[in-house]
């Protein structure tokens, strides 16, 4: 099945993302990369846990002083929802419904943007509102690094999906771009998975103390 081939919904393969060798390679490559990313984030989590509430002086802020449930909850809901919307996008991709796929990806991007805006607000609030900056203490450095790296992944994911949508806006689905859309969505899910641990370990456990 060649990359250049034209398809109809009937001839479109069941797993278009893996229909060509290129696609299969990319598919495995991305997953292995995520295996590495798992270790990467585990390392950030490990650092965070080792430095949680470790500060220089008793006046420095610790986790129970800064986190608030409502904000974390709102961010969580946005990101979780963006995950199911990207599942919808892939569902339509596999059904060779390009328009719907685009639509659901756009919704995904909007939700992701919402998350990102809240995160910026959150950081802004901590730094200027509470005086809890990146350089305040070991704890603050660990917090911003862990959550910030996740935020960086969100930005990269948003950029990636956007670039794909823009680049392919007029081209329709093919075996050349189907794997790309699929991979971007897997990456996006992974960001969501990491967030599940972040809201549990950072925010919820931080509230508990």
């Amino acid at each position: 099945m060649a990359v250049e081939q034209q398809f109809t919904p009937e001839t479109w393969p069941e797993t278009p993302e893996r229909a060509t060798l290129e696609g299969k390679n990319k598919f495995l490559g991305l997953w292995f990369f995520l295996g590495g990313e798992t270790v990467l984030f585990a390392s950030f989590f490990a650092t965070y846990l080792a430095l949680k509430d470790k500060v220089g002086s008793p006046d420095d802020l610790v986790s129970t002083d800064i986190f608030e449930l409502p904000l974390a909850f709102a961010m969580t809901m946005l990101l979780l929802t963006s995950s199911i919307t990207s599942v919808y996008a892939i569902y339509h991709m596999r059904n060779f419904d390009y328009k719907k796929m685009q639509l659901w990806f756009i919704i995904t991007i909007l939700l992701g943007l919402g998350f990102f805006v809240l995160e910026i607000y959150e950081f802004y609030h901590y730094t200027t509102g509470l005086g809890f900056g990146f350089t305040s203490s070991a704890f603050s450095s660990a917090f911003y690094t862990l959550v910030g790296f996740h935020g960086g992944h969100v930005v990269f994911g948003l950029g990636w999906i956007t670039a794909l949508l823009v680049r392919n806006r007029k081209r329709g689905l093919s075996l050349y771009n189907a794997p790309k859309f699929y991979l971007a969505s897997i990456y996006w899910h992974f960001i969501d998975v990491v967030w599940v641990f972040i809201f549990t370990v950072v925010y919820l456990m931080g509230m508990v103390g």
């Binding site: 278009p16 585990a42 449930l69 995950s83 919820l204």
Partner: protein, 110 residues
């Protein structure tokens, strides 16, 4: 090079059947999304309710792990076939990550 079509997606498989299967999959996805949301609510609820720390922490960690497994297997399609190597390497990463975290909460104690 290996342009030959090698995967399960045989074009002759009945189109209607495939659509139905995709739909079925999608239903599972929506269910697992609902479960995700539910687990999240429970976790936030447990913290908001102010239960004892020694109960809440293991509990919400467990919820997180369950949720992540759901997401990996349904949202990220790890339950589909052709994911054997993927599983091997994800488990490998998770295992090494786990060992790392374990070390950092035990032998960096001062």
């Amino acid at each position: 090079m290996e342009d030959q079509y090698m995967n399960s997606g045989n074009p002759r498989v009945d189109y209607e059947y495939r659509r139905r299967r995709n739909k079925e999959h999608m239903r599972h996805q929506v269910i697992s999304f609902a479960i995700s949301i539910f687990l999240t609510l429970v976790a936030f609820g447990a913290v908001a309710a102010g239960f004892d720390k020694w109960f809440v922490i293991p509990f919400i960690l467990l919820l997180a792990i369950v949720q992540v497994i759901f997401q990996l297997y349904y949202f990220m399609h790890m339950s589909e076939k052709g994911h054997e190597a993927v599983q091997l390497f994800m488990y490998g990463g998770a295992f090494i990550g786990f060992v790392t975290v374990l070390a950092y909460v035990t032998i960096i104690w001062w």
